[in-house]
């Protein structure tokens, strides 16, 4: 009797979280519907002009902006974090390992506005001094994002490296390969799937990041022409204008959210497919 109640209770609780998720999706889609209806899907997705005052609601610059910033952030973060994970797991002594862990955890726990402030106060002026212009650039935004996703990739890659069976490593060493050869030919290939999922998770985080990016990216709704252009991402577009938007402008921000949501869903599906189809 008692057990049945607990079971039902837990079932209700789990249904509840799924229900909230569905409600959010329905809400976003319903709110965005008038925008797609009045402006047209292709005008929203492929329009290159965002000027709500004049009736232009194209979000292509923001889609490209989000993708470009994320790609550059990954280019910076992947070598740094995988290198870091390999060092911690394979080379560092125990006391260094115990030192690294809390530091990386702290890095993950710093609120994004602090990263944004750091970017605004330190990286933006450096970028301006070196490259001229306003200093609000894709480069700075990507660097800030890269720092923010480092902990995710590092800790997940550490797990990946850890989970390579020790027999493989020992056999490789026993056969006479050096430590470096073992890492290169046994550990990394074996861990590569999990590392890929780590990267995709980080990608999701990077695309979703808002506050820090608003502070350093310049938020110009134009298709960027170089890595030193300012950029506006999908999330910044929503956060910047939601406070005051009314009517179709408001709905078009929800349309932006739908696009963002779809991108993140696709990433999640890819990471799940990788994990289940080829996962170890």
């Amino acid at each position: 009797m008692n057990e049945a109640i607990v079971e039902k209770g837990l079932f209700l609780l789990s249904i509840f979280s799924i229900l909230i998720f569905l409600l959010i999706i329905i809400f976003i889609i319903l709110e965005s519907f008038p925008a797609f209806q009045h402006i047209g899907i292709s005008n929203i997705l492929f329009g290159i002009n965002w000027a709500p005052d004049n009736g232009f609601y194209g979000i292509l610059p923001m889609i490209l902006g989000s993708i470009i910033v994320t790609v550059f952030a990954l280019l910076i973060a992947i070598p740094l974090s995988i290198g870091c994970a390999i060092y911690i797991e394979e080379f560092s002594q125990n006391h260094i390992k115990t030192l690294f862990k809390p530091i990386i955890q702290t890095l993950a726990g710093i609120p994004s506005i602090v990263y944004g402030f750091f970017g605004l106060m330190v990286l933006v002026p450096i970028s301006r001094d070196f490259f001229g212009g306003s200093g609000f650039t894709i480069l700075v935004a990507s660097m800030v994002l890269a720092i923010m996703i480092l902990p995710t990739i590092i800790s997940l890659s550490q797990d990946a490296i850890n989970s390579v069976p020790s027999e493989y490593v020992e056999s490789s060493l026993a056969l006479g390969s050096t430590h470096i050869q073992t890492i290169k030919n046994i550990i990394l290939p074996k861990a590569s799937l999990k590392i890929t999922t780590a990267i995709i998770l980080a990608m999701g985080r990077a695309i979703g990041e808002t506050l820090a990016i608003i502070m350093v990216a310049g938020n110009v709704a134009e298709i960027p022409t170089s890595i030193l252009s300012p950029v506006r991402t999908l999330t910044s577009n929503i956060a910047l204008e939601m406070g005051y938007a009314i009517d179709i402008h408001y709905n078009s921000l929800f349309a932006t959210a739908v696009v963002l949501f779809s991108i993140i869903m696709v990433l999640m599906i890819i990471s799940n497919v990788i994990e289940h189809k080829w996962g170890c």
Partner: protein, 263 residues
């Protein structure tokens, strides 16, 4: 088991009692412009100290939201930071005027711009400081996000219907905009008068610097009113609060926020 429930119920009851610390308090709701919000919060706090039976709730959302809330009678007062185009039978109380300062980096040697030059800079036709008497450097134009009240006031007063250049860097708060100007010798931007400090320099518009006097007598053109709106029928508590705004205590707070009362 019974004891547990008893304790839980006790906690709930105590919580409910504690959360009603003024059992007979009367609420006044103020909704509207986020620019007017900070000074209203300070005013409300001071007012509530001397009037413990009144609770003033303040919420942002923008001037238009304030007007809407008044008309739907979900608020007693609306905060508005722009000239009303249609007064909807609302009663207006003027809190004062806020100057909008055109700010540049202290290293910038440009001290005066005409309103036409300003319009040309913001519409992207003037792109180099040399064209307005400065050094040969590209102007970094900073602006606020679409919908910001300060941006709307700026557009209305300066832009004459033309659009802000697409190259303008968009920042989402007065604070970060001022920060960006204080770091960048080539930047130009607009911030409320109360944000003016040593980090940035104010530029004179048509030869007139923003000061308390020039804003009060209207010779400094970049300014907007801070209004409190009420419905034509008004309850005693709200009327008392509006009367209190003329007291020396309220005037002190308003002055401290560098909101200028016209004479």
């Amino acid at each position: 088991m019974d004891k547990k429930y008893f304790i839980l119920a006790l906690i709930l009851i105590i919580g409910v009692i504690l959360s009603q610390n003024h059992p007979h308090s009367i609420e006044i709701n103020m909704v509207g412009s986020t620019s007017v919000q900070p000074v209203c919060e300070q005013l409300a706090q001071a007012y509530m100290e001397t009037h413990p039976n009144i609770t003033i709730n303040i919420q942002g959302g923008g001037s238009n939201f304030g007007i809407k809330s008044l008309r739907n009678e979900i608020a007693e007062m609306g905060m508005c930071s722009m000239e009303l185009e249609n007064n909807y039978n609302l009663t207006t109380y003027e809190l004062g005027h806020e100057g909008i300062v055109i700010a540049v980096n202290p290293a910038n040697n440009v001290t005066n711009l005409t309103d036409y030059q300003l319009q040309q800079i913001y519409s992207g036709n003037i792109t180099n400081w040399q064209e307005v008497g400065g050094v040969n450097k590209t102007i970094t134009v900073l602006t606020r996000e679409e919908g910001s009240g300060t941006l709307n006031a700026f557009k209305k007063l300066i832009m004459n219907g033309s659009d802000i250049t697409q190259n303008a860097i968009v920042l989402n708060s007065q604070g970060s905009l001022k920060q960006a100007i204080s770091q960048n010798p080539d930047a130009i931007g607009f911030v409320p008068y109360s944000y003016l400090d040593n980090g940035v320099n104010a530029v004179a518009i048509n030869g007139i610097y923003p000061t308390m006097d020039s804003i009060a007598n209207g010779s400094y053109i970049l300014q907007r009113p801070f209004l409190l709106l009420t419905n034509s029928e008004i309850n005693n508590q709200t009327q008392d609060f509006l009367n209190w705004l003329n007291s020396s205590e309220a005037t002190f707070i308003i002055n401290q926020n560098r909101i200028v009362r016209s004479f």
